[in-house]
């Protein structure tokens, strides 16, 4: 049987990807340019017995998905920069309490209200450092409608597997453009469900590190009575200020990501094998970069593209390898320089690192990237 094909907007593809992943709860608040995710799911979720709720504000939306996830639901919210700023408090809560959930950030310009209908990539550092306190972060940056579908599925998988909030960031251009989507068959993409506890209710501890780096999370209402708090806590979930326990829990929650980078990381390379210059770009900017690389190659310039799909944890190893091989890396992003700091950090001076930035609401175009590559060579 032929696969289902549709012309979908990025935000619609996100909603479809969520449904494929088994999302059954959406809590949101209207905000441009992400609202279509909520609109589609308000219609689709009740059809499968799922729940859609429009909350009173962004914080409430984040709270509702954490509450829903604690009952075992696969929970999603979608927003944009100003909304993500408000959600930071409870993204931190989901980190420390280790509650799986997925946050979509359709990026516009900023700071503050910025340009609600224009694209931006200026929330990428916020995705790592937005909420206070030490914490791990996983953030994915798809660059096409098809990839928004598959990365939304992967975001749910990573959230459930690593028991933490996962952010999917795509700029307004990718969110609002329309492309042909081939719907994967059921089973074609991996769908990971939450691991059930092996302990019975009498001995269950929600943060028992002897069960592994990611202890299983029981669902409220499934026979398990346990405590969840945003305070530093011991393995039984109850608050503690005992230094050794606090330290062990904090480190486990970060190590569960850093020890599993190979499983979490994802990137694409294009013509990097012999490249003198690597364009390092993500999201819609990577599409301009690919075009620029092709044009530069026609002119005899050995350019290549490195495109992170997992932005956090940062692709340190491969970026460092490319820095050691290439003469220069051009980091192209729709902000005034954010990921370039990470690239510089891991390049450690092995090659020249320069940035090509844009924040005026227009797309970062191939011509700009070509000019910068020629300048740096």
């Amino acid at each position: 049987m032929a696969k289902k094909v549709a012309l979908l907007q990025g935000n619609e593809a996100c909603a479809q990807g969520a449904l494929y992943a088994g999302c059954n709860f959406f809590g949101g608040y209207p905000i441009t340019p992400s609202t279509e995710v909520a609109e589609v799911l308000s219609g689709e979720l009740p059809k499968i017995g799922g729940k859609f709720i429009q909350m009173e504000d962004e914080i409430g939306a984040m709270a509702s998905i954490i509450g829903a996830s604690l009952t075992g639901a696969k929970a999603l919210t979608a927003t944009s920069g100003p909304g993500v700023s408000l959600k930071q408090e409870l993204i931190g809560y989901a980190c420390i309490a280790e509650i799986p959930c997925v946050i979509i950030n359709v990026m516009r310009g900023g700071p503050s209200t910025g340009m609600p209908t224009g694209p931006g990539q200026s929330d990428v550092m916020q995705a790592k450092w937005g909420t206070h306190g030490d914490h791990a972060a996983i953030a994915l940056v798809p660059a096409s409608c098809q990839e928004i579908f598959s990365e939304t599925v992967r975001a749910f998988n990573l959230a459930e597997k690593y028991r933490m909030p996962v952010q999917v960031l795509y700029d307004e251009i990718v969110g609002h453009m329309r492309e042909r989507i081939v719907f994967p068959e059921p089973g074609e993409l991996e769908v990971i469900n939450r691991e059930a506890p092996t302990d019975g209710p009498e001995t269950y501890k929600p943060y028992d590190s002897t069960k592994g780096q990611v202890p299983p999370l029981a669902a409220f209402g499934s026979g398990y009575k346990f405590h969840v708090t945003g305070l530093n806590k011991a393995d039984d979930g109850f608050p503690t200020t005992k230094a050794s326990l606090v330290d062990a829990e904090e480190r486990r929650q970060i190590d569960k990501v850093t020890d599993n980078i190979a499983d979490i990381e994802s990137y694409e390379e294009y013509l990097t094998e012999d490249a003198d210059v690597i364009v390092w770009a993500y999201g819609s900017t990577s599409r301009s970069a690919r075009y620029a690389v092709n044009e530069l190659r026609k002119e005899g310039i050995k350019a290549g593209l490195f495109r992170p799909i997992t932005l956090w944890p940062f692709p340190e190893k491969r970026t460092a390898e490319l820095a050691a091989k290439a003469k220069a890396i051009v980091v192209a992003e729709m902000n005034l320089g954010q990921m370039i700091y990470e690239v510089e950090r891991v390049a450690k001076g092995a090659c020249v690192v320069v940035g090509e930035f844009r924040v005026d609401g227009d797309p970062l175009n191939p011509g700009q990237i070509m000019t910068k590559v020629k300048e740096v060579l």
Binding site: E56, I59, I65, A68, A75, F220, G230
Partner: protein, 272 residues
């Protein structure tokens, strides 16, 4: 025979953090009795709170307990209830948590009329942070941030809840322990948003700054200020000055409950 509270308390979690003379323990005992009276299965009961002294209550209860962020209890609880309507959901917390930083979540949970019982302990102060004024600190009262007296007017929490659309609203005080569980029972049995406001005492950060020389003085004040709604109907406005109405202040059984409304949406979406 003494009431057996211990079966509802998590082993090893007492003593609690509350100061001697604090009314929160009286409220917790009332809540335990009410949960027992209603026969709630604690495995199937979520007790959700925000931040503050009163919000520490769930940690002591043997149930599915969720101690969230400051002010967010009603929003987390909404997610729990929406996702699993078969669970009993109880919120608890203080006046600052529920009506200042959490005011928006509070009024919208009331508006939706989602089936939960919110026990709001109003002790007129932010106790945990050392006694700063809350939206419920009486005008003129002393708090650590109102050294010249509080310039702010207060929220009447029960009126706020009624205005926002809650369908069961009741008030009592920590000096009326028997009425606490009686009203919480009615709240739990009510299908919709039930707000039980319990006027409470904070001798440590409120009482000692406001001429209540002892816990007994605070309790006497709560007792003297409480006027049952029936009695109030025969009193003049002058006589009611500075008093609190207690008992069931509002009860509406007509307004549809939110999860039931959404169950209808599911039926519609599925073409039934």
């Amino acid at each position: 025979m003494a009431y057996d509270y211990e079966k509802s308390i998590r082993p090893g979690k007492l003593p609690h953090i509350w100061c001697p003379g604090c009314g929160h323990g009286i409220v917790m005992k009332g809540l335990i009795r009410a949960m027992d009276t209603c026969g709630l299965d604690r495995k199937n009961t979520a007790v959700v709170s925000g931040i503050g002294c009163a919000s520490r209550l769930p940690g002591y209860l043997d149930a599915c307990t969720l101690h969230t962020a400051h002010g967010r209890a009603a929003a987390f609880a909404t997610g729990v209830k929406m996702a699993k309507p078969e669970m009993n959901v109880i919120c608890c917390g203080g006046d600052g948590d529920g009506t200042a930083i959490g005011g928006n979540h509070f009024i919208h949970a009331c508006r939706r009329n989602i089936d939960m019982t919110y026990v709001l302990m109003n002790n007129f102060i932010y106790g945990m942070t050392g006694g700063q004024f809350s939206p419920c600190t009486p005008t003129g009262a002393k708090a650590s941030t109102t050294p010249y007296g509080n310039p702010d007017p207060i929220f009447d929490i029960s009126k706020l809840a009624i205005g926002a659309g809650a369908t069961f609203v009741a008030r009592t005080t920590a000096a009326h322990p028997r009425e606490i569980d009686k009203l919480i029972v009615q709240g739990i049995q009510h299908k919709g948003m039930a707000i039980i406001e319990v006027l409470d005492d904070c001798p440590t950060t409120y009482g000692r700054r406001n001429k209540f020389r002892s816990v007994i003085d605070m309790m006497k004040y709560l007792k003297a200020s409480a006027v049952p709604v029936k009695a109030a109907s025969k009193m003049t406005a002058e006589q009611l000055e500075g008093k609190f109405l207690t008992g069931v202040l509002f009860h509406d059984t007509d307004k549809p409950e939110y999860c039931a409304q959404y169950a209808d949406i599911i039926k519609k979406a599925q073409g039934a």
